[in-house]
């Protein structure tokens, strides 16, 4: 119970120790202070020398308008076109200084856009429809992905070739708005949610490979490849496409529109923002045309921007994403009325496990417009950029183990 305060004994030693501890803390702080200068939250896209010089020059001359683009997820080839447009100076040529803001687990792009923190955002249409009904004032100004990439895959021996076969199976889904195409497909085949066991799916395909999930959700450009990058313990070789059955929601008619460029509805009545939107769409599509013609270089640009995906996986993703855009029916970015209607109908009529639908009434007319993308496409045609890609052929990508 004795408490004494020694002021004399060991005072010098104590001071020295305290000094050492403080110096250490200071060193750590200084070290992280240095970090600040080099990196920021925003993606640093490695532009080629010519473009880097041009960007700097235009910046110094004050010719550029700063524009922020919010992605739906972290840097990966899913967004290759925007990265290419930065790296190849397409945005700078349009007078735009574009900063790409990566997404995260808890970042909702449409919310960030509606709050006015960024100028444009990339998000899936069904996810945004819900936000619009809840009051977000944003507009789809370019439907970059014409086709949906969501599928439900299963091993051949499970015998799941169509949605009706899902009954009685363990069906995987990521949830969080990624489940609607699956639910719509099942509803069309009269499979209710009570007929299946819904399993929460993680970022990896381990549960699928281990057999806990019979039919797993898979994006053609990502999870499908993850399976093909894994060694089949029975053969000692990688799994092949022949081992898998794929339910493609495009074929079953329950596909929904995915990656689109969203803009702030109210600001579109401001001429400067409207013009900037046309310029932004134009340069973005030019970026996607570059990705179509140079998939290897595009994959490299994305990797240089800090994506940690393996090289073969990144190239696979680039190639598969290209297939979602090219060949384009009416020019990349054009919102097809029928596809929009299908998406809205599914959003109105498909119930999830709690009986809720995405939206309860048709979205307002401001939810999408082709006004800006049409201007952008016309300008691109004048510049001689092919926005249809009629003779586009995908490349062959060989996946390495682990996507390395």
């Amino acid at each position: 119970m004795k408490m004494s305060i020694h002021r004399s004994r060991g005072s010098a030693r104590r001071t020295a120790r305290l000094g050492a501890a403080l110096a250490l803390a200071g060193a750590v702080l200084a070290a992280c202070g240095d970090d600040d200068g080099g990196s920021s939250s925003n993606v640093d896209v490695k532009a080629d020398e010519d473009c880097a010089a041009r960007t700097q020059e235009a910046r110094d001359a004050g010719e550029l308008t700063e524009v922020k683009l919010q992605l739906q997820w972290v840097s990966q080839a899913q967004f290759a076109g925007y990265y290419a447009a930065v790296a190849k100076c397409y945005y700078v040529d349009e007078g735009l200084d574009v900063t790409i803001v990566e997404g995260g687990v808890d970042i909702v792009p449409q919310d960030v856009l509606a709050a006015g923190d960024v100028d444009y955002a990339i998000s899936w249409v069904p996810k945004v429809l819900g936000s619009i009904e809840q009051g977000a004032r944003i507009t789809n100004v370019a439907q970059i992905y014409e086709r949906s990439a969501t599928t439900q895959i299963s091993f051949k021996d499970k015998g799941i070739t169509e949605p009706a076969d899902l009954a009685g199976k363990n069906v995987g889904s990521w949830g969080y708005g990624n489940e609607w195409e699956l639910f719509a497909g099942m509803q069309d085949a009269d499979v209710t949610l009570d007929d299946i066991t819904l399993v929460q799916q993680a970022f990896d395909m381990n549960a699928f490979l281990a057999g806990d999930i019979d039919a797993a959700q898979a994006m053609t450009y990502n999870e499908y490849a993850q399976v093909l990058e894994t060694v089949n313990p029975e053969t000692g070789e990688l799994y092949t496409a022949d081992d898998l059955n794929v339910i493609d929601w495009i074929e079953t008619g329950s596909a929904m529109l995915q990656d689109a460029i969203w803009a702030q509805t109210e600001k579109l009545s401001d001429t400067a923002y409207a013009d900037q939107t046309v310029a932004f769409i134009k340069a973005s599509i030019e970026g996607w045309a570059f990705v179509r013609d140079n998939p290897e270089e595009a994959a490299q640009i994305v990797t240089d921007s800090g994506s940690q995906l393996g090289a073969s996986h990144q190239l696979w993703m680039t190639n598969e994403v290209n297939k979602l855009l090219w060949p384009s029916t009416n020019g990349v970015g054009t919102i097809d009325e029928a596809a929009w209607k299908q998406t809205v109908d599914i959003a109105l009529g498909t119930q999830n496990e709690t009986g809720a639908t995405i939206i309860s009434k048709a979205p307002p007319e401001t939810a999408y417009t082709n006004e800006y993308v049409e201007k952008a496409l016309a300008a691109l045609e004048e510049d001689g950029v092919d926005t249809i890609g009629a003779d586009y052929t995908p490349i062959e990508v060989t996946l390495a183990e682990g996507g390395k």
């Binding site: 119970m1 004795k2 408490m3 004494s4 305060i5 020694h6 004994r9 060991g10 104590r14 305290l18 050492a20 501890a21 250490l24 803390a25 750590v28 702080l29 070290a31 992280c32 970090d35 600040d36 990196s39 920021s40 939250s41 993606v43 972290v74 990566e102 995260g104 687990v105 808890d106 970042i107 919310d111 960030v112 709050a115 923190d117 993680a202 970022f203 990896d204 395909m205 381990n206 490979l209 281990a210 993850q226 399976v227 990058e229 894994t230 313990p233 990797t303 800090g306 994506s307 940690q308 995906l309 393996g310 090289a311 073969s312 996986h313 390495a400 183990e401 682990g402 996507g403 390395k404």
Partner: protein
């Protein structure tokens, strides 16, 4: 002889502890049932022992030496984790320092004014019931609207603030308890000497708080590391271990050892953070020894 032994003993025991975990891991992997141990139909209580679910411990170590990707110039996993670890540790340190300063200030105010304690303490406790995933996007959004004397708010600042949000709590509570720990008789003695509040604080309360403060600081350091890593995941800041966990998780099927690399990295920076706080404890040892009476 004895002194060498007492010095080596903790190191040996530490190594033995790690070795034991590794041994249990690999023994279970070697002899455990391939399909894991189940309770009833569905509940898996022990994991599968496949290479997918449980890579060999040496594979995980080996993975550190291999390049992250097959691209030319790709760093090894160790180099990548090292860089990311330093980055996250830097953010956690910033968060910890902010958290400690705020925590100490709050404790001082609460110690000085009883009414402040009644008013603030419930909020301090409440603050920790707000889930991190709820505040992370908010912090980023509010932060982006802040212009601090020309300092542009970055996502790094958001992560540091979130780390601070977790770190300040144990410090505030621990410091308050410590500041209030002197016995009534000692306070009365100070009072009898006619010593003012500040001087009492300096010569009595602060030294007395050390035994409470040290574990609080260490807890705060651990919280700051967790906060930094989770906040990185939450708001998608690149460069740190949190983001790396997400990125590498995608390889979990084809390259099962890879996702473990950033996890070990996070463990390592947690240890470094706790160890660094231990150094502060070393500096404050005299107070700790004489002050520990409860």
């Amino acid at each position: 002889m004895t002194t060498t032994w007492t010095r080596i003993r903790p190191v040996l025991l530490g190594a033995l502890g790690v070795g034991l975990v590794v041994a249990v891991w690999d023994l279970y992997k070697a002899f455990g049932p391939e399909e894991g141990v189940r309770l009833g139909e569905r509940t898996l209580i022990l994991p599968r022992t496949t290479d997918l679910a449980m890579p060999h411990s040496w594979e995980m170590v080996q993975r550190f030496g291999e390049p992250v990707t097959s691209l030319a110039g790709s760093p090894t996993a160790f180099e990548a984790v090292w860089d990311a670890g330093l980055f996250s540790l830097g953010l956690a340190t910033r968060g910890w320092v902010i958290g400690v300063v705020i925590g100490l200030l709050l404790a001082l105010v609460m110690c000085r004014f009883r009414i402040a304690e009644s008013a603030i303490l419930p909020w301090v406790v409440l603050s920790q019931t707000v889930p991190l995933i709820a505040i992370a996007p908010l912090v980023r959004r509010w932060g982006s609207q802040i212009d601090l004397f020309g300092h542009v708010w970055t996502s790094e600042d958001s992560v540091a603030v979130i780390a601070a949000y977790l770190a300040f709590f144990p410090v505030a509570v621990g410091a308050l308890r410590g500041l209030k720990s002197p016995a009534r008789t000692h306070l009365d003695l100070m009072h009898a000497y006619g010593v003012g509040w500040w001087r009492t604080l300096l010569v009595l309360r602060l030294p007395a708080s050390v035994p409470f403060l040290l574990p609080a600081l260490r807890l705060g350091a651990a919280s700051a590391v967790v906060g930094a890593v989770v906040a990185e995941v939450s708001i998608g800041l690149k460069g740190g271990l949190g983001r790396m966990v997400i990125d590498y998780a995608q390889s979990a099927s084809g390259d099962p050892a890879k996702p473990w690399a950033p996890i070990f990295g996070a463990v390592a920076i947690g240890l470094v953070a706790a160890g660094a706080v231990g150094l502060i404890g070393l500096a404050l040892r005299p107070f700790r020894v004489t002050g520990a009476f409860r």
